[in-house]
Assembly symmetry: C2
Homo-oligomer: 371 residues x 2
Amino acid sequence: MNSKKNFFELIKTDSGGRLGKIHTQRGIIDTPTFMPVGTAGTIKGIFTDDIIKTGTQIILGNTYHLFLRPGIKILEKFDGLHNYMNWHKPILTDSGGFQIMSLSKLNKIDKKLGATFSSHLDGKKFLLSPEKSIQIQKSINSDILMVLDECPKMTRDKKIISKAIDTSSHWAERCKVEFNDQKNKSLFGIVQGGIFPDLREESLNKLLKIGFDGYAMGGLAVGETQSDMFKVLINTVKFLPKDKPRYLMGVGTPSDILGAVKSGIDMFDCVMPTRSGRTGLAFTWSGKINIKNSKYKNDDTPLDEKCKIRYLNKYSKSYLNHLANSNEILASMILSLNNINFYQEFMCKIREEIQKGTFDAFYEKNIDKYN
Amino acid sequence: MNSKKNFFELIKTDSGGRLGKIHTQRGIIDTPTFMPVGTAGTIKGIFTDDIIKTGTQIILGNTYHLFLRPGIKILEKFDGLHNYMNWHKPILTDSGGFQIMSLSKLNKIDKKLGATFSSHLDGKKFLLSPEKSIQIQKSINSDILMVLDECPKMTRDKKIISKAIDTSSHWAERCKVEFNDQKNKSLFGIVQGGIFPDLREESLNKLLKIGFDGYAMGGLAVGETQSDMFKVLINTVKFLPKDKPRYLMGVGTPSDILGAVKSGIDMFDCVMPTRSGRTGLAFTWSGKINIKNSKYKNDDTPLDEKCKIRYLNKYSKSYLNHLANSNEILASMILSLNNINFYQEFMCKIREEIQKGTFDAFYEKNIDKYN
């Protein structure tokens, strides 16, 4: 097993939750951590310097999107995404696999070749091999790279999932070779297996043999119930090495995150805070609210009295109700920033509670609040 | 003639340009000045605190839009628009007349009653009388109010324009009565008359008899050529009192502004910098550029190396080209802010050149650059 030493530091565990630190050349990431999603090289609707103010320590870039636009040549000209978008802290990139399944119009998986797909933008055909995925991620200059995996749509057909595991394990091995133990970069494997504990274990064992710097849970948050997802986590996480970070891809609501932290997950990413923000949904410590609702029309209180970033605490719910109902850009700007800030406060609180040994009480208090 | 004393201070004139100061309870406005347009209580795509950073000293609010949404009751609850949108510097409001002509589906002008119109949002019918327009503007709590005028579409039919002048003068008088010499607020009259010098003079003389704190040129920038507009200004401005501010409504490009300043105009408003920003157009000291053009794909220079607001000088044209072509909100945010900042730098430069007595050279250098 050939993986980075001192990459992950486990500081404390409490009621299942793990407090830790990931060390990268571009900074430390306190875990459990939430990574805002910068799909096309921008966290939608938020200035890069405001992302910093929310306490965000790492963001996610989408290989599929960045490969199509602006393209690798331009990213290489800028020595990668950090300079291009003016984000100088760590970046994790996915492999492109998930978007190929979910976004592209035609896709074909070939264990030997890779994934052939048509761009959702113009229909142009591309082949993404495991090697190519790693090469693109190197051009993006990301700090944490993910292996290319086949991520089947939610299914209970064990045969389909088994086949995906077989392909994914083979690709994971090729990714590891292509990655070639880059200094200052890390490579994560992705555990597949749907909701079946035996398949998850099989997938994991294959990855453990190859050896990665961290392990992600893939193929979740694709339509299964939250309770099914938690079951998979509990059944699988126990087999994951304790000294490596664990990443639950594409998750989720604050409640999803809370349950997953309790299962021992360290890293999360999701478009929810920004996408919700653009539709008028705001996350607050009192729960999730739809600011477009007429009950906020006369409400002169802010979303969060304590939030001084960009003077967000100076904007009343009444004003936000007006902006959101008038489709004003400023509504998306304020709500997206508020939501990312809430998510980061939520993660910060989780870390504090684990540190204090009071995580379970926090879990009980909040687990049903954000469903 | 009953109007505010010491409201406008004329400091210097140079080659037609006037350097001055408007004194309001919420701050001084250096003229010539540009007022960004906050149609629905937000300068589209820009945080209120960033507007301040561009050097903006006054913004414009649209009575028509604010009356429909969020409505007067809510604005009154917040003691007006300043608190509602967190903008504590001066606000000028138009009277609603222009939008009734340009936006609402059905409108009917009645000299006695006012303007009846159907909302462009839901078709609901409203009557805006001169009195009601002033009442709404008082509820908005604006610092500079405009009289309700009939603003006919561009026409060369003198009869139509004469009739509009007759109605507008009558309404102006009623607005003045309703305004009732508010302390700490000012009321401007609006000169109509199309492109006809005699009609402009007639309209102006009627307004001068009533007496206002400032005089606006209405019915321009409605489709006539720039040269026609400049002719009207030159022919009309000479009759305007020197000790009152002069406001050219809805204008314009930097070139329009430059020519109008040379004619002796002090105040401007236009949606151009923000509206252009949302379509990928950027104003720079080298001219106007379309950032979506493929020639910027590899351009690693910023729009303005000196602009440090929100680190705008850290974003390359290449990155902006990508964002704008990907329809990312951040493109609108950056370009709108850049454009407002450029407009304010342009106004600042105009004031400096008048101060130095070198306005004519600046005029010659820039008059053809932004057409």
